[in-house]
Symmetry: C2
Subunit: 158 residues, 2 copies
């Protein structure tokens, strides 16, 4: 028996990559043109709005960005007066990141816009389908990180 030939169009890693890039480009363009934010910067703002005072390492873990990206985004945002990076009293190496008032203001501006974009992009799915999509993606992600614990983490590679 011949194995069914591989059709690129049916190949899930390919499909996933194409769709994801399409969405990313779309969203990234909006952040950039409307707010001058890169995606890493936006992620940082978003996560700090949820949990203030995180260290860069903690942010890296939550957002699955590597520490170099976090560092760059953090400095850029600090330069724009959107976040502060206070020395941590307990650990002189670490810096606790917080949104400034300006940062909080920006977040208040960006967040609704982001939700609107999400709604627009995924308007082609009904709510149950959108949930289903999230669930499936989460399962894939979990299984993949379980298989390779070092994958995508911000932890130093051995």
């Amino acid at each position: 028996m011949t194995a069914t030939p591989l059709r690129l169009d049916d190949f899930l890693p390919y499909r996933l990559s194409v769709t994801s890039n399409l969405v990313s480009d779309h969203v990234a363009g909006a952040y950039r043109s409307l707010f001058g934010l890169s995606v890493p910067e936006w992620r940082l703002v978003a996560v700090l709005a949820e949990a203030d005072g995180l260290s860069q390492a903690a942010i890296g873990e939550r957002t699955r960005m590597d520490k170099v990206s976090v560092s760059r985004a953090a400095r850029a945002l600090e330069g724009r007066g959107l976040v502060t990076r206070l020395a941590d009293a307990r650990d002189a190496r670490a810096r606790a990141l917080s949104l400034t008032d300006a940062g909080r203001g920006l977040h208040a501006l960006v967040a609704p816009r982001a939700k609107a974009m999400e709604a627009a992009i995924f308007a082609c799915l009904d709510p149950a389908e959108a949930t289903q999509l999230k669930v499936l993606l989460a399962r894939v992600e979990a299984s993949l990180t379980a298989a390779d614990p070092t994958a995508g983490s911000a932890a130093d590679k051995k």
Copy 2:
């Protein structure tokens, strides 16, 4: 009423990006270490195995890669003796790409491996779910490309 706050972990563009990057990295690492192929190169081989003799522009359309990436991948593969690029008799600008025997041989090696990886990565989904995932992704992709016809195409920008 206060809008529900944006939780990054629930934000679909973010989820999609994280999962896709995880899968991509996983797969790309395998292509590279096992066969010395980059993802663009692998896509080119895969698409030529399905339809031989395509022009680079046609490949770009099918794989959603821009023409620079296609050009680079094509030249790299030609350099390795995996594809030929014959001058098209009808259009002296175009080149018809074909897999050489070696290219075909490599594809015969890579394809099963790719399918096995796909199976392993998505083993956490039952077949119906995998299909559902493809369907949902395709819908998102279609709606997004309909909204912005220039997105992701290899066509020259105006």
